[in-house]
Symmetry: C2
Subunit: 148 residues, 2 copies
DNA sequence: ATGAGTGCAAAGGCTTTGCATTAGG
DNA sequence: CCTAATGCAAAGCCTTTGCACTCAT
């Protein structure tokens, strides 16, 4: 699991935005800060709640920009809304536990040995089917303690 | 991997629909047949194309009914549309390869030993976080041969 | 006959976009 | 100054819903 300080992240984000000719504005900084503070992927409503004063349209637009910059990843759990989190090269590789009752999402990490075995196996079956694997995505679906 | 004949499936579907007080109508039969014929999850447009004469609203409604009956599963890959496939107790447990370029989705299966190890590990970490695991979801994200 | 199922069209809800205004470099 | 970024409101798009008609029991 990688570890980045607050300022580390901001510097990295600023650089990556610059690469694609985008500025690191205050609105984008707020979004990054909110995502960094949460240890789980957030929905737009959640982001807007934490990043007060930010317009909904700006949230959508900035998240798209940040996604293009490789800083943010958009994930879709089940139904409902899309969720956003910082990319794994900032947060470290992890997976998600999704509550099938209330939709809550939490981060979860697996032992490296398991990840390696899994990646090797997946790459093999993918190749056999003519796919070039980039990465995998793994979710635990279950019921959280609040809903049980 | 389970193996069900065409008539096996229809009988099973009919039974499960009956359990929740729903009929096995012609429209629903067409949908099930279309999904059974495809070896991959289909989007609504794809289903409508194959099941000609079926209204869009009926497709949505029937797929919801079939989902409630435990016959169909709705999955969300990345962006775009929701996709539907027959439940795993009909098709057998499997995963999906998603092309990040064109959105194509294909089924893929892992060795049982890998699945077991994975499930054991996931159940353990989930429990530690207060989650009761129901099942897991695993996707390979990459580039298909058509897009490479 | 009688309620479930269907089709069509309209409405919903998350997301995107147009346009005038503001701000960063 | 000058282009990018922002806010507000309107439009889009997949999906859901209302309503009248049809079909099976």
């Amino acid at each position: 699991m990688k570890h980045h300080s607050h300022t580390d992240i901001e510097h990295l984000v600023s650089t990556r935005l610059g690469v694609i000719g985008q500025r690191f504005t205050s609105g984008r900084r707020v979004i990054v800060d909110v995502l960094a503070a949460a240890q789980r992927p957030l929905s737009i409503p959640e982001i807007l709640e934490d990043a007060q004063g930010l317009a909904q349209s700006s949230a959508y637009r900035n998240l798209t920009v940040l996604e293009n910059a490789g800083v943010v990843v958009r994930i879709i759990t089940t139904d409902e809304w899309a969720r956003y989190e910082l990319s794994e090269d900032i947060t470290g590789h992890h997976h998600h536990m999704v509550c099938s009752e209330c939709g809550a999402v939490e981060d979860v990490r697996l032992p490296d040995t398991m990840e390696h075995k899994l990646d090797a196996e997946l790459a093999a079956v993918a190749k056999k089917a003519g796919f070039t694997m980039a990465h995998h995505r793994l979710d635990v679906v279950g019921v959280c303690k609040a809903c049980r």
